[in-house]
């Protein structure tokens, strides 16, 4: 997360550059509204993502507050459902996805030696769609009937019955989808057409590869979600009956369409995270990534397989055994390329000269906890087991291990890793490590115990629960508040770095070897690689 402050300081301090040329002739707010610079846009994506992370986080705390004790204390069930829904939507579409698009904007042009993204003005648009979508989501709380309380998966038939807040949410999903599709096409075009001479595809840093594949996934999956919510919208207002059983439709059809998007979506979240980890681990092991080519193939295999496993989210809807078996085998198959990646990361560290600065700590946290989430995924992929565990807290534990300890930890690793390059200053290493350990401990406190709750039969998405679940829920809630506070420390660390960090050298990490470290000064200049480097 670079900063407004820094770029300006830099320009004034080193007055040698032409200020107006740099910022497109505007200053202040207009600079940010009109900017077409990939670094500015990356910065805006990252700050937007952090703000949404805070908003979604407050909702999570509201949920954990209610679940601190059995019985109803703070919210009525409707409000609780609204928090559950908006927490999920905001975290997935507002926090995690934009965070990685932010990384992509900052890093991809620098890593492949391009001057900017392929479509600079479109890039500005892709970003500025997001605040509108975010506002619509939050506004839905203030409509009659409140925000939709249907869960982030927006299942019919509930969605057909909700109030006007549902319509705002549907529009928000349309806008978010539009933003991601435009952003993805931009990334694909940049990577395919604008690499520096000599930068062949198989020489690209893995982060660029995972993003290229993610962008393909987005272009293929996002429009399907747009279709699903459009059907919901026409069911609500224009007399179609796609999902309305009374008119001959079928709510189960919605689930199929949603998860056809939904499972690729989880890899849309996971793959860029894999990319960041694949940059960080080699840098702190002072060794090149082990099995680069197999990493590329594994990523592609995951992407392709992700389109044929969707019904593992719906084993219990009543499908033929043949169907269950097909989706079960396909799902367990995904564990193979995922395993290849985990082994490659471990092999990269094997006999490396390891050091454990904050980015590496987060990468290792990712490695352990994401793998644990993968294992619980494997448990859930088994039909007879999933029929017991479906819609329990075990599933909640599973996907928070892969999305929080996976994607979010990876985003933290990436921020600490690249912050010196972006701002020109070092973050406070000691505080960074405190942030890591607190995050690690509180994360497990929240979510490890949720495995027990799920195995004992506590359903997800309920505001009240039997007494026997109280102890684990209390631990989980205390962990949640600790986790939330810890993230304020993260904000402090980033601000402190921007305001008063020690100046960073060009290459603060000994083992880092991509172009932004080897060919660009620190901080990265506002315009980089206007003449492309030649890669040998």
């Amino acid at each position: 997360m670079s900063s407004v402050v820094d770029s300006h300081d830099h320009d004034h301090a080193h007055g040698g550059h032409d200020h107006h040329d740099h910022h497109g002739g505007y200053s202040g707010v207009m600079r940010w509204i009109t900017t077409t610079n990939h670094k500015d846009i990356g910065t805006m994506y990252l700050w937007f993502s952090f703000m949404m992370f805070m908003v979604g986080g407050v909702m999570a705390l509201a949920i954990r507050l209610e679940l601190f004790s059995p019985g109803m204390q703070f919210f009525n069930p409707d409000q609780f459902n609204q928090f559950i829904t908006m927490h999920g939507l905001i975290m997935v579409f507002g926090a995690i996805m934009p965070a990685f698009v932010g990384f992509a904007n900052w890093q991809i042009p620098m890593m492949i030696g391009a001057p900017d993204m392929a479509f600079a003005r479109l890039n500005n648009w892709s970003f500025w769609l997001l605040p509108f979508a975010g506002t619509l989501l939050i506004l839905s709380f203030f409509t009659p009937g409140g925000a939709p309380g249907v869960g982030w998966t927006l299942y019919a038939p509930l969605t057909v019955q909700m109030g006007i807040g549902m319509d705002l949410t549907i529009f928000a999903v349309h806008i978010l989808g539009m933003s991601s599709i435009l952003g993805s096409i931009n990334i694909i075009t940049t990577i395919l057409n604008m690499r520096a001479p000599g930068m062949t595809l198989m020489k690209m840093p893995l982060f660029c590869w995972t993003w290229l594949i993610t962008a393909y996934l987005l272009v293929a999956a996002m429009p399907v979600l747009a279709g699903a919510v459009t059907m919901t919208l026409t069911d609500r207002h224009f007399g179609t009956t796609f999902f309305n059983a009374a008119g001959g439709g079928d709510p189960v059809l919605y689930q199929h369409i949603f998860w056809f998007f939904g499972h690729p979506e989880v890899y849309i979240i996971a793959l860029p995270a894999f990319g960041v980890i694949s940059q960080v681990i080699p840098a702190f092991s002072r060794k090149p990534l082990f099995g680069y080519a197999s990493m590329v193939y594994a990523t592609s295999a995951i992407a392709i397989l992700s389109f044929i496993v969707w019904a593992h989210h719906m084993y219990t809807v009543g499908m033929p055994v043949t169907g269950q078996l097909f989706f079960m085998y396909a799902t367990t198959l995904i564990a193979v390329p995922t395993g290849v990646k985990v082994f490659n990361w471990v092999a990269t560290m094997w006999k490396g000269s390891l050091t454990f600065e904050t980015p590496m700590l987060f990468a290792l946290g990712f490695l352990f906890l994401f793998t644990l989430g993968g294992f619980t995924g494997l448990v859930l992929s088994l039909v007879p087991v999933d029929i017991q565990l479906h819609d329990t807290y075990y599933v909640v534990a599973h996907f928070h291990y892969v999305m929080v300890a996976g994607a979010l930890f990876s985003a933290f690793a990436g921020v600490y890793f690249w912050l010196p390059k972006w701002t020109g200053k070092m973050y406070d290493e000691k505080l960074g490590q405190v942030h890591f350990w607190l995050t690690l401990i509180f994360f497990n406190m929240i979510f490890f115990v949720q495995h027990f709750l799920g195995m004992a039969g506590m359903p997800r998405r309920i505001p009240d629960y039997p007494l026997m679940f109280e102890t684990w829920n209390k631990i989980s809630s205390i962990g949640a508040f600790g986790f939330g506070l810890t993230q304020l420390l993260f904000l402090y660390i980033v601000l402190k770095c921007i305001r008063s960090g020690e100046p960073a050298p060009q290459k603060p990490w000994e083992g880092a070897d991509s172009l932004e470290w080897t060919h660009l000064p620190t901080p990265a200049p506002y315009h980089s690689f206007e003449t492309q480097p030649v890669v040998k």
């Binding site: 392929a118 479509f119 599709i181 993805s184 096409i185 694909i188 075009t189 395919l192 057409n193 604008m194 272009v219 293929a220 999956a221 996002m222 429009p223 399907v224 979600l225 747009a226 279709g227 699903a228 059907m231 796609f242 079928d250 059809l253 199929h256 369409i257 056809f260 998007f261 009543g318 499908m319 033929p320 043949t322 169907g323």
Partner: protein
């Protein structure tokens, strides 16, 4: 400029893919119904309840014994005949009679059971008072028909089936029908 042209072409190609995938979402709708039809999974009535063969098997006769009970319910409840003889596959109708002997409206729900239990799988009811709750006004008497077919697949060694109904009171409903009875 050639890079710009190339970029525009890439953009167009992927925009078309995105538009195609939007259409694909809609194509999943007919596709879903095709798959369901192929696998026979979307029948509203479960397959067990569809008579597989409506041919009357005149070669066999099965005796159906009719039985009735009430569970803590002030109703008199009896079949109009004690037993009927039917051929498997033949549509038969029997009747029960029920009277509310209390001075308040009461709602009841009848539950069927079969002896031997296995026979239940072959006993197909088209019409039965047990499909819905019955509310009887004070002193009201009602005739309750049951229309059924015995599946010809009924195992050979079953020659008689006991059809037994028990009426249970539906507490909340009775109270609602009667006002507060306490």
């Amino acid at each position: 400029m050639s890079l710009e042209r190339q970029n525009r072409r890439t953009f167009l190609r992927f925009a078309l893919i995105a538009a195609g995938m939007f259409g694909f979402g809609y194509a999943l709708v007919p596709f879903y119904y095709q798959i369901c039809a192929a696998w026979d999974v979307r029948n509203i009535e479960s397959r067990a309840e569809r008579p597989a063969n409506t041919q009357v098997d005149l070669g066999r006769t099965v005796t159906v014994e009719l039985d009735s009970n009430t569970h803590k319910l002030p109703w008199s409840f009896r079949p109009l005949v004690k037993h009927v003889a039917v051929h498997p596959g033949e549509v038969a109708t029997v009747e029960y009679e029920v009277t509310n002997t209390r001075g308040v409206p009461i709602t009841g729900q009848a539950i069927a059971s079969y002896g031997p239990q296995l026979a239940g799988e072959y006993f197909r009811k088209f019409e039965c008072f047990c499909f819905t709750q019955q509310t009887l006004q004070p002193g009201e008497t009602r005739r309750l028909p049951v229309v059924f077919v015995i599946d010809p697949k009924l195992p050979r060694d079953v020659n008689s089936i006991a059809l037994s109904y028990t009426f249970f009171e539906v507490e909340g409903r009775s109270a609602a029908a009667a006002g507060d009875r306490s």
